[in-house]
């Protein structure tokens, strides 16, 4: 995990682009981004008529990843944005999370062993462990630094597929 950045207070939904099949959400660096983003995902879930348990999984994955980024991923000076792209096929929902925070591969850490006793249960890394278990597939890409003044230069890309069955 990179050094904890400042949790900004300026979070929230910056923009939504929905072309009817793919949804793009632009989120700021702050905890309000989580709830604002979840609400912006609701019409997407409704349009696909996803069953409640898939919606729950999607919300949990969204919560964990965005929460991780806003709580740990940003350092001052970056543009501090997250782009979430959601699309679907009949069998699956695809989520892509891109941010311009500190480079961080959440999958580099070993999958923690199953919880065994209360005394030795880990308190960290639970979110990523949960996402890995809920996802049908997950992959991380470190993006080359492409300087685009005024634009969005994502550093991290995480792609997650959820089965919609």
């Amino acid at each position: 995990m990179p050094g904890d950045g400042e949790v900004g207070s300026a979070g929230g939904l910056l923009d939504v682009v929905d072309d009817g099949s793919t949804l793009h959400l632009w989120l700021g660096n702050g905890l309000p981004s989580i709830e604002a983003g979840r609400q912006a995902l609701a019409p997407f879930c409704a349009r696909l008529a996803l069953p409640p348990r898939v919606v729950n999984r999607l919300e949990v994955v969204f919560e964990e990843i965005v929460s991780n980024i806003v709580r740990h991923g940003f350092v001052s000076g970056s543009a501090q944005r997250i782009r979430v792209t959601a699309s679907a096929t009949p069998a699956a929902v695809h989520l892509r999370f891109e941010d311009d925070g500190m480079p961080f591969d959440p999958l580099a850490r070993a999958v923690p062993p199953p919880l065994h006793t209360l005394a030795d249960a880990p308190l960290g890394g639970l979110g990523i462990a949960l996402v890995r278990k809920l996802a049908a597939s997950i992959s991380y890409t470190a993006l080359a630094e492409t300087h685009r003044p005024g634009g969005f230069a994502p550093v991290n890309r995480l792609e997650i597929t959820l089965s919609s069955a």
């Binding site: 919560e63 919880l115 949960l130």
Partner: protein
């Protein structure tokens, strides 16, 4: 000592406010001083059970000099100073100097603190509120009568507000050479407004200042109070009262009771205890009421017990809710030599009572939701040294921070030899519990009855 420290907080806060800075602060989230905030400044602070510790916490499990707190580069570092019971951050015992992140819970003995970053204005407000509540409580206590240790009537009492301030007040005193009045009032609700209402009622009674009313006539006193304190003109508050007047010459006690449980008259043969009560409407809840009174003769050497419902509305260590009937055996039990009756009963109730062990959660346990409840949740479960039963029926969403909260509090409860048990999870919450394997380390059951059984197993 107390006043000096409060003043210190206030001055620091004003200085910080001028600079628009945020200040590190430890907020007590358990125990009698819940809500009290201790600002952390540039100097290292020591926390311990006795002065000269900077933060004095006089409760069980805290060592004389327990731990030390200091800011390094705006990070709060905690070091245990060889305490007997250890220092814990989010449920983990620290072995060396450790950072206490903002939002984390520090546990010292049986007390829990949350690390917060507050603006000077927030700190100043909290210091003012502390001071105001302490002043209000001191004011109420100053109005209470002194115990009577000689004369034909002797009186003794214990006064402990359940929250920081409540609406229970009482008083007694002579109306004339032979007539002695006594009363206990319980205003609906808690907090400053209930206390102010209680004080208003108490002041009228202790100064015998009800207009045109014979203070020796309990029915007339209650009717006059009802006319004066109608709830629509008094912030929707009403009260229950027990009021009596004893004549030392005739040995007659006249009494009236409105919505209150009985007082108990115990003759020397304690088994002949007599409940003294008349049935009347609550004072302030309806207009034009007549209040019935009754009369009884007081035998030589008898005692009258007058108490608020706080002594019996408790939850015991076994999770049973007490009522008046549960308190009566203790009341009837023999006095203890060397202990006043009020002290004997107070100790008995303290020994039985526990904070409510069932914790109901509501809403979404997401990042924001967990942030909003974790302090109170830790205080209601881990801090109280008993099993914790958590009702998830109305939790609609669970994410990893919620799972983490359950693990860290279950661990703290477990360290005290008890269990934290979850029940009533919805399908969405169950899927996350099972995906994480949380049920392997924390009992998760379907119903409250099963949860109680598991918690006491």
């Amino acid at each position: 000592m107390e006043a000096e420290r409060t003043q210190f907080i206030s001055l620091e806060a004003i200085a910080a406010a001028k600079h628009g800075e945020r200040r590190h602060c430890l907020e007590q989230v358990s125990g009698a001083d819940i809500g009290r905030r201790h600002p952390i400044g540039a100097t290292t602070l020591r926390l311990g059970r006795l002065p000269p510790a900077d933060i004095v916490i006089g409760t069980a499990g805290v060592s004389r000099v327990h731990c030390e707190l200091a800011l390094h580069d705006d990070r709060l570092i905690v070091a245990d100073l060889g305490s007997t019971n250890g220092t814990f951050i989010d449920g983990e015992r620290i072995t060396g100097p450790s950072p206490l992140p903002v939002g984390s819970i520090l546990q010292v003995g049986d007390e829990f603190f949350k690390h917060e970053l507050l603006t000077g204005t927030q700190l100043q407000k909290s210091a003012e509120l502390d001071r105001d509540l302490a002043a209000a409580l001191a004011y109420v206590e100053a109005l209470l009568p002194a115990p009577l240790s000689d004369g034909p009537i002797r009186a003794d009492w214990v006064y402990r507000p359940s929250a920081r301030l409540g609406g229970d007040v009482f008083g007694y005193g002579y109306l004339s050479a032979t007539r002695f009045a006594l009363f206990l009032v319980d205003v609906s609700g808690h907090g400053a407004s209930a206390a102010m209402h209680g004080v208003a009622v108490m002041n009228l009674l202790r100064q015998s200042a009800l207009p045109g009313t014979d203070m020796a006539d309990p029915g007339a006193v209650l009717a006059a109070l009802n006319a004066l304190f109608q709830m629509e003109r008094h912030g929707d508050m009403y009260f229950t009262i027990w009021y009596g007047v004893y004549d030392t010459a005739s040995r007659q006690l006249d009494y009236a009771c409105a919505g209150h449980h009985p007082a108990f008259l115990l003759p020397l043969r304690r088994d002949d205890a007599l409940p003294l009560r008349t049935r009347n409407a609550l004072v302030g809840a309806s207009t034009g009421r007549r209040y019935s009174a009754a009369q009884t003769t007081i035998p030589h050497g008898a005692s009258l017990y007058l108490f608020s419902d706080g002594v019996f509305e408790i939850v015991t260590g076994e999770g049973l809710e007490w009522g008046l009937a549960d308190f009566l055996p203790a009341l009837l039990a023999a006095p203890q030599s060397g202990l006043s009756e009020s002290q004997r009963l107070y100790r008995h109730v303290c020994a039985q009572s526990r904070t409510r062990e069932l914790v109901e959660l509501d809403g979404r346990l997401d990042t924001a939701g967990v942030g909003a409840i974790e302090t109170a949740f830790a205080a209601m479960t881990a801090a109280v040294g008993q099993p914790a039963i958590v009702d998830l029926t109305r939790v609609t969403f669970l994410a990893s921070l919620g799972v983490r909260l359950f693990i860290s509090t279950a661990r703290a409860v477990d360290r005290k030899g008890h269990k934290l048990v979850l029940f009533g999870a919805t399908p969405a919450v169950t899927e996350i519990i099972e995906t994480m394997g949380l049920e392997e380390i924390v009992p998760v059951v379907a119903t409250q009855a099963e949860a109680r059984a598991r918690a006491s197993a």
